[in-house]
Symmetry: C2
Subunit: 516 residues, 2 copies
């Protein structure tokens, strides 16, 4: 994180008025802030204005206030006495399509007060974002979706506040990072045109909105910062991720990848940022295999296969009996099977190397990962050839996207100083496994950095400093978004990447070593 | 009025989006406005954002929007189609302590749509502003006063809209000019400290407030511009007056006077502005004499006394039977009596010159202006020595204030290029009469300019151009407010001015001519 320059909370000591200096209370405060902030564009919200005269006189013209900045204009949104020791809080939100994560922080000191997460209540209306966008077009559909998410936020915010022993009125700022569609649904703006050519969002930079306009139950004068997007397919969650990763401030070119059904990539340094997004297919999220599922207790997140004995060593979340496999587990499985010779260069099962785990059904081969007697479901956990083919396509798409963006910019993958992997995926994935199957390039393992929830991290950073708002806008402005054209070049790269690890194994020297 | 530079209504034609230009709808509009307005600080209100996507597509990316500017930041507060031929209206308000005047104008063309006036409903709570300021300190008193005036505005706005055949939703902007206390009571800010040393208002520059925050029933996204003040005793009504008079743009020094119980004076030109305010007493508003009253049907507003026959020629408003006299009528009466020799240099009645109109009661002399049989009240309308003494003090105070401010700045009264007189008083007063009694300086009559309702005029100008907001702020900033110290100099000037027209008659050469 960069150093905090201006907190949202400012303490001021004003000169009391006199017959010779009869400036009004509000204008006295504004003048003090103009000096402190170095900007002439300062004004007061009504909520801050009304209590001001008594507040100033009670505290001998010492005042603590919360300021926010939007498009060059500063606004005082709250004022209190300097001795008011109730925490002034901000709420950071990772507004995911499936999962929403909240973090309560102190605006004055940046301390985390509490955290929680909940399933996006819009899941009941539509599991994926496309279904919700269509639903938004039905009568009152948009209002319903907006209400669902705002109600969910209010409900869980109340719990969070109880946990932190504060009231919701003590929250004055919310910073919310979500994909473009989720941001639209929160704002109540219709995402209708996002999914229709030429794929135009209603808004790229929503800036600061009054919390009361959205129905968010924080302080009546509170503001909501919704992170900007740069198009229908590159949302505020990624802008938050860039902010959090510091990619935009690095001298050496680095890359940030958010892996999912849609793979989003940002490449750049302190001079330029290039982004693209492309479909990688659901395999990387564990979404296609029969046993695939999101991370949770009993889900396999790591597998090792002994190269000599071919014994499977399976790790599950919370060490419970295995019930399924998540994206990172699947990549581990495929990588280990490949290194053990159980699948070949084309990603096809090699029955003779599978030690009796190989079976067939309706002419399709599959491998038993966990036998029924050791699984948590009482049934075999298996991976089929079709699952592997799907994974092969997904990993090839991921690699092709990486190759295309680096080639376009003229940066060799080997020259990437850092390779950030965002999200839960980034936290669980073992880079060596992703390299083994040729999904990610063969870089020194220590250049790979998991970012964790970078969307929440970026949202939290926005609460640390008023400068973050400008920084976010600057990031949004600097990004060049590259449309991925599925042309002959792309298809050639994709075909070459469908091998394990690649048709050109010299690009993956480490894999050759690991195979030995 | 200066030329209109930027209307509040802007018509734009945007380039439709394409695969190669996927800027979001809101950001496309913002970019268009940034170019048009020459400012990077443009954003959209939620009320303007929500309908935008459909609006743009229905109108092939041609859009009409209302923008407003506050502290350097532009906001789009409404957007509609270019073919929308419903008038977009603004409301100008002269927010008087006693009387409120409304004017509905078209924001796009500046045309006046309708006008009306009503008594300030706060009169029921307190006739004068001091009573209301005290009432504001009682339980719910401030809220009650705010509700009274806002309800009054809403009620009369509804009538006005019916008259102009528009809906209240078609009003997007209100510009309100009132004295500092009335502005506070409208905003709901407590004027408590205004009347207590060192006399500090809660706010000098309220800027733009959301109409919905004040409860004003115009368009939900509409804004209210409350004119700034420069202290408890120099309000937004006077800033509006300066804007309207153009004093701040004139090359030659001129003066603007608002005559009332409190006399407010602004002196200046395009380089500087100096202001002061002082108590002149209620006589000039017709507030002390038994027969004094505010202008209305049957009220004497003009009197001529034939210098030979001493016959009274009385003019009343709407030519009804006389029932009283207003401030300007009283000045006429005193001036004519003085010129006819009925009162002497000290303002004392000269019984022998009063042709039987002179009477006494309890040892106090008075003059019958209208005998009972010709009056509208069935009683004699009289003016007493005490009334005349009160007028003498008031006119002396007025002249002393004028002399003090001009002397302080070093401008000879004779060099004033224009002498603006604001308000109803300014419209009715005959400069020659005011000069005759030595209330106003002996300038060429044609330098005197009545301004009429300059508060309403200034408020209307604010609706004509977005630049007016900056101009208003610039006026407010440029004014140097001079405290009138009642020191020996002041008292000497005041004593000298208590003569008719002055102890130094050479300062009033015209009066000597008129007396002959």
């Amino acid at each position: 994180m960069p150093e905090t320059e201006h907190r949202w909370v400012i303490d001021l000591e004003l000169t009391p008025p006199s017959l010779g200096d009869n400036t009004a209370d509000a204008d006295r405060l504004v003048a003090g802030l103009q000096k402190q902030l170095g900007s002439p564009n300062v004004s007061l919200d009504r909520t801050a204005l009304l209590p001001l005269p008594d507040l100033l006189r009670k505290n001998n013209y010492r005042v603590r206030c919360i300021v926010c900045r939007d498009r060059g204009a500063w606004k005082v949104i709250f004022a209190t006495g300097p001795a008011d020791d109730r925490p002034i809080a901000g709420l950071a939100v990772d507004l995911g399509t499936s999962r929403v994560v909240l973090r309560l922080v102190g605006l004055a000191d940046g301390r985390t007060l509490a955290e929680s997460a909940f399933d996006n209540p819009q899941l009941n209306v539509g599991a994926d974002i496309l279904a919700r966008i269509h639903y938004a077009d039905t009568t009152d559909g948009l209002e319903h979706l907006q209400k669902l998410i705002v109600d969910g936020l209010n409900r869980h915010m109340a719990l969070l506040c109880r946990q932190a022993d504060i009231t919701q009125e003590q929250i004055h700022l919310a910073a919310i990072a979500g994909n473009t569609a989720m941001s639209h649904l929160l704002l109540g703006t219709n995402p209708h045109w996002m999914i229709r050519e030429p794929y135009i969002p209603a808004v790229n930079r929503p800036g600061l909105t009054r919390a009361s306009d959205l129905g968010l139950n924080i302080h009546p004068g509170g503001r909501v910062l919704v992170f900007p997007n740069i198009g229908s397919y590159f949302g505020g969650d990624l802008i938050a991720g860039i902010l959090y990763s510091d990619l935009h401030r690095r001298e050496n070119t680095a890359i940030l990848v958010d892996v999912g059904t849609n793979a989003e990539v940002v490449l750049g340094n302190h001079n330029w940022l290039m982004a693209c997004a492309g479909a990688a297919g659901p395999a990387l999220e564990g979404g296609v295999t029969k046993m695939g599922m999101m991370a949770g207790p009993g889900v396999i997140d790591r597998i090792d296969i002994d190269p000599k004995t071919h014994q499977f060593q399976v790790h599950t979340i919370e060490n419970q009996k295995p019930i399924g496999i998540c994206g990172s587990g699947l990549i581990d499985l495929a990588a280990q099977m490949f290194l053990a010779g159980m699948i070949d260069l084309r990603g096809k099962l090699v029955p003779g190397r599978c030690d009796g785990r190989y079976q067939e059904k309706d002419g399709l081969g599959y491998l038993v990962v966990i036998a029924a007697d050791r699984s948590g479901t009482g049934k075999d956990l298996t991976i089929g050839q079709a699952d592997l083919d799907s994974l092969t396509r997904s990993k090839a798409a991921m690699f092709t996207i990486l190759e295309t963006i680096t080639t376009t910019v003229g940066v060799a993958m080997q020259d990437l100083s850092k390779f950030y992997v965002a999200g839960t995926f980034g936290s669980f994935i073992r880079p060596a496994s992703a390299i083994s199957i040729g999904m990610l390039p063969d870089l020194d393992i220590d250049r790979y950095k998991p970012l964790g929830n970078s969307s929440l991290g970026g949202a939290t950073m926005a609460l640390m400093s008023t400068d973050a708002v400008d920084e976010i806008d600057a990031i949004q402005e600097r990004i060049t978004y590259m449309e991925l054209n599925v042309n002959q070049d792309f298809m050639n790269r994709f075909s070459a990447a469908k091998f394990f690890p690649h048709t050109d194994p010299s690009r993956f020297p480490s894999v050759q070593v690991w195979q030995e």
